[in-house]
Amino acid sequence: MIPGAFDYVKPETVEEAVAALAEAGDDAKVLGGGQSLLPVLRLRLNHPTVLVDVSRVDEMRQVTDEGSSLLIGAAVTTYEVMHHEGIRAGVPLLSMAAGEVADPAIRHRGTFGGSCAHADPAGDLPTIARVLDAEFVIAGASGRRTVSAADFFLDFFTTAVGLDEVLVAVRVPKLGAGWGFDYQKFHRTAQAWAIVGVAAAVKVDGGTITEARVALTNMGAGPIRAASVEAALTGGAATADAIAAAAASAADGTSPTTDTHADAEFRKHLARVLTKRAVSTAAGL
């Protein structure tokens, strides 16, 4: 369809972007890769008067190795997340999940920051940010602040980024030695969104799972940590039976939606099956 009219600005620094947002007021929108925003505009679900395109803000296109973490600019594309050597080496789970996002054309335009800021409950990268306990660097008129993943994703399509703020970068901790991981994305066609996704990372020591992290895609308003599964796994044996038993609680407390691809009951079932599979793979089984 055809979007309504809007103005377009293309700042070159974060400060210029923030200033542009302040000037435009409530009706402005940050434009990343446009792969989610433009469909929204074309369907006339939103009518911003100004788009502030951050895709050429240099600072937001950098990947910086901070030692125990990577600072990934919000405008880094999904394609780069998939292929960047530093990201592949430092947080391979993120690269792996990036390869599951949409199709090559969309990955070349869509951005890591846009994906997180858009906060579609079916998004893959927010789940990875959540399972790895990423931090979000947000810039506004009063300066910069950092928000943890636990506090970043607030609701369907809603994050801690204010209307007058820009997500500048995402700090993703490295897992380090001894960890295994997997991302199980369940979808019907190759380029489709996740019906359910499960990210798992476990540290196995002498046949025992010493640390476990599990996060779910599309099982609620945003990415969710499966705390009961993590608790059940931690300290337990890295065996198929123990993992299956722990995975049985994966859907506990979740409230997934019903849509044309799956109803809530089926999503809960999938969450359990996929958790079992993701954890098993992460544990090297």
């Binding site: 369809m1 019907r188 190759a190 380029q191 489709a192 691809h261 799956a262 109803d263 089926f266 099956v273």
Partner: protein, 792 residues
């Protein structure tokens, strides 16, 4: 690059020449309707209602009229009588017809129905103005479910008709009651052939423009049927037919969706005439989902009466077919195009067919690739597997036991059609060989015994279909308003180049190449010297267009005859030039030579020039060199084939994977095997997509839930395996070139092959059907239901 076919290098027919049209298509030198820019154009946009059924209380267009760039806004009150479409196939005498308004006057009957039209000087301004139109609706109850729609007291789609039943068509063949008495048992199943949205890559588009120098209005439209459309536009708008010229420029796919007369076309023509300016409209994808006709949508109650040894005795078919809200061009006839095909390739003593057409408050249905025959093929090939299961017979053996044997052709089947040729044994044997049937059956048994989560199933579809709808007399007997003939004129131009004017209207099928190959062999000029002219009622005035795999099956006959007539006329001129009698002139590879004295010769190109100058023609021979033919064929065309699918089903998640697909089709003589291959691949993708991905869903209020491609899933190349294809060649005996249609075969055959394979993979879990599309949820739920008792 087009490969050159040497004039002397043997026949062009049968060569896998790359398509002439592809260089142009692939490098963007195309002329899609949306690319046509005329000065002074007004852009049309349509306000579509957001609910399934409502009364229009009031429409306020004042703000829209005042908006920048807006030239006019119309509502139903401006054109209260103007139809937006029409039905040319009233299938029974008692059928309840409906009026499809160009713009709704006081009631909307499906989500996407049109309530207002904006014309503006720019495309974006035109769409912006839609937001400014204020419509008061009073909601009426939606009619969504076909069975509910037929119950007494149901809300009505057309309240003045007093019923939602559009028609009941019956065709009893043989004595089904007697068959059930004779039979050992009757196997009954209900199959659902879900609603589909055709989704060609190029959406619909139209430009209508008064041409100034006369009263002519030229209509460029993304259509499969320029000729039929011209007639219908004249009838619906009252504009004399001779003042209408319809052009189908490059058309990016149709699949039946462009076998239609649409309200956007009617409105564009009427408004172009009224305002004296070009009118342009291009469909958005969202509009396509609701505003272009849908396909399929049948509930099929199928019974098969059988002997315990597997012999089929009789079949009963009871269909409910969803018409949607209005009847469009062949809405009621579409399910009946399958009527003769329910017995498939099998012998039986009775076939009792009933179809009830039902009005609902949904987008109208109409032809979609295969139109009626996929539904029939699905029913017969699915029930064959169910019969095999119930009787404990291997499904392939059951088919072999009942199919028409190759030595029995021509064979008049139970519905009265005479299949001219076929060799089901040969196609099946080749398919089994390519598939590795026995190995896969062994693997299936192993997997079942091991009991792992991923199970294997094998799906079979041994299909035939009827295409190339003709002869005209038969269509008339079925109450179809038009004929089934096709036309071709071949003109030898003075410079020796050839213009082949066809009444078929390609939209991706490669006619420019294939028709050149046929003509090349007949008149002996190189393929690249032949220009195929099509899709323009001004340049190619006679034709019945392209649908139902008819273009080669019917149009090919006209090409052959037109070419032969041209050659015969040229022979008379050549004989005169060579000073011998025509009987003494031989013709081969474009050269006329004197029998026994081959040095004395002339070429068809030289004759073309002689015919142009007319300086030295025999007495009584008119100048110019051309041949012309309008052919009404003897019969339908009956391609067939054997399709095999290996399906993996993850029983924990319901995820289905198509591991291997083999098909061996028999379309008789292949003019261009590469084009055949393309048609088979595309058809397979569409048929498999019905089985696994596609499905239009509505909520209880009649809102389309699958209104975009996030919800309405189409597969891409990565979602499908490499198909393994081959052909057997059993030439048609009713077609002078021995060819049969291949445009729809893949779409017709593959759907039941896939579902048979899915069911076969989980049959041991108690499942005997899976709703299409076989999405993970549908498969998982079928397993759950079966495990908890009742079969799905």
């Amino acid at each position: 690059m087009t490969e050159t076919v040497e004039r002397t290098g043997g026949p062009a027919i049968g060569r896998p020449i790359r398509r002439k049209e592809d260089a142009r298509l692939l490098t963007g030198r195309t002329n899609w309707t949306d690319n046509i820019q005329l000065p002074g154009t007004l852009y049309m946009s349509l306000l579509r209602c957001p609910m399934a059924h409502a009364k229009i209380i009031n429409i306020d267009t004042s703000a829209a009229l005042a908006a920048e760039g807006v030239v006019a806004v119309y509502t139903g009150k401006d054109f209260p009588e103007l139809p937006g479409s029409t039905c040319v196939w009233p299938v029974t005498d008692e059928i309840v017809m409906s009026h499809f308004p160009a713009i709704c006057l006081d009631e909307v009957k499906f989500g996407g129905d049109v309530v207002a039209v904006v014309l503006a000087t720019e495309k974006y301004l035109s769409v912006d103005a839609l937001d400014l139109i204020d419509v008061d609706y009073e909601p009426l109850p939606a009619v969504v479910d076909m069975e509910d729609a037929l119950k007494p007291g149901s809300p009505l789609v057309h309240s003045d008709k007093g019923t939602n039943e559009c028609y009941v068509a019956k065709m009893p063949c043989g004595d089904y009651e007697a068959a059930t008495v004779k039979a050992d048992r009757v196997v009954k199943r209900r199959f659902i052939n879900q609603r589909l949205i055709p989704s060609p890559m190029e959406p619909r588009a139209v430009v209508a423009a008064p041409m100034g120098m006369s009263d002519e209005i030229t209509i460029w439209t993304s259509t499969q049927i320029p000729h039929v459309l011209r007639v219908l536009l004249a009838l619906l708008t009252g504009i004399p037919e001779n003042n209408l010229r319809v052009v189908a420029p490059d058309v990016g796919g149709g699949f039946g969706a462009k076998l239609q007369i649409n309200r956007e076309e009617v409105l564009a023509v009427v408004l172009a005439q009224k305002l004296g300016r070009p009118i342009k409209w291009t469909e958005t994808r969202s509009e396509h989902m609701v505003g272009t006709h849908h396909g399929r949508d049948q509930i099929q109650d199928i019974e098969m009466a059988v002997m315990n040894d597997g012999t089929l005795v009789g079949m009963k078919v009871d269909l409910l077919a969803d018409m949607g809200a209005y009847l469009q061009i062949i809405t009621p006839g579409t399910p009946l195009l399958g009527m003769f095909m329910y017995s498939g390739i099998y012998k039986m003593e009775a076939l009792d067919f009933t179809c009830t057409g039902v009005y609902t408050t949904k987008t109208p249905t109409d032809a979609y690739r295969g139109a009626g025959r996929p539904e029939a093929t699905y029913a017969i090939e699915r029930i064959m597997d169910e019969v095999a299961f119930e009787l404990g017979i291997e499904p392939l053996e059951l088919r072999k036991k009942n199919w028409i044997k190759h030595e029995e052709f021509p064979y008049t089947q139970i519905a009265g059609l005479t299949y001219d040729t076929g060799n089901y044994e040969a196609a099946t044997a080749r398919a089994l060989e390519l598939f590795g049937y026995d190995e896969l059956r062994a693997e299936q048994a192993e997997r079942r015994a091991a009991g792992g989560p991923v199970q294997l199933g094998i799906g079979i579809s041994t299909f035939t279909e009827m295409c190339g709808l003709a002869p005209s007399r038969t269509l008339g007997a079925l109450k179809y308003v038009a004929g089934g003939w096709e036309h071709c004129t071949i003109r030898a131009l003075p410079t020796g180049k050839i213009e082949l004017i066809t009444g078929t209207s390609p939209h991706g099928q490669g006619h420019e190449t294939a028709w050149s190959q046929i003509a090349s062999d007949i008149i002996g000029v190189p393929v690249e010297d032949i220009e195929v002219v099509h899709g323009d009622t001004g340049r190619a005035p006679y034709g019945m267009d392209t649908y139902g795999s008819r273009s080669l099956a019917v149009g090919g006959q006209a090409i052959k005859l037109a070419g032969e007539r041209l050659v015969e006329k040229a022979r008379i001129i050549a004989a005169h030039q060579l000073e011998v009698s025509p009987d003494d002139v031989e013709f081969a590879h474009g050269t006329y030579s004197v029998k026994g004295d081959p040095e004395k010769s002339t070429t068809i190109q030289a004759i073309a020039f002689e015919a142009f100058t007319a300086h030295n023609l025999p007495d009584g021979v008119e100048p110019t060199l051309s041949g012309e033919s309008t052919v009404d064929p003897m019969d339908f065309s009956y391609p067939h084939g054997t399709h095999l699918a290996a399906m993996e089903v993850d029983t924990e998640t319901g995820q289905v994977t198509l591991r291997k697909y083999v098909c061996v089709d028999d379309c008789g003589v292949q003019i261009n095997p590469l084009i055949v291959e393309g048609q088979v691949h595309g058809g397979l993708a569409q048929g498999i997509a019905q089985a696994l991905f596609e499905g239009a869903l509505y909520d209880a209020e009649g809102n389309l839930l699958t209104g975009n491609m996030g919800d309405y899933l189409l597969p891409s190349a990565v979602d499908l395996p490499s198909f393994i294809t081959d052909r057997t060649v059993t030439p048609s005996t009713t077609h002078p070139l021995g060819t049969k249609g291949i445009g729809e075969a893949g779409a017709i055959a593959s759907t039941p092959a896939i579902i048979n394979g899915v069911v076969d993979a989980i049959r041991h879990l108690g499942v005997n059907d899976v709703f299409m599309p076989a999405s993970p949820q549908n498969v998982w739920r079928a397993i759950q239901t079966a495990q908890n008792g009742g079969a799905a």
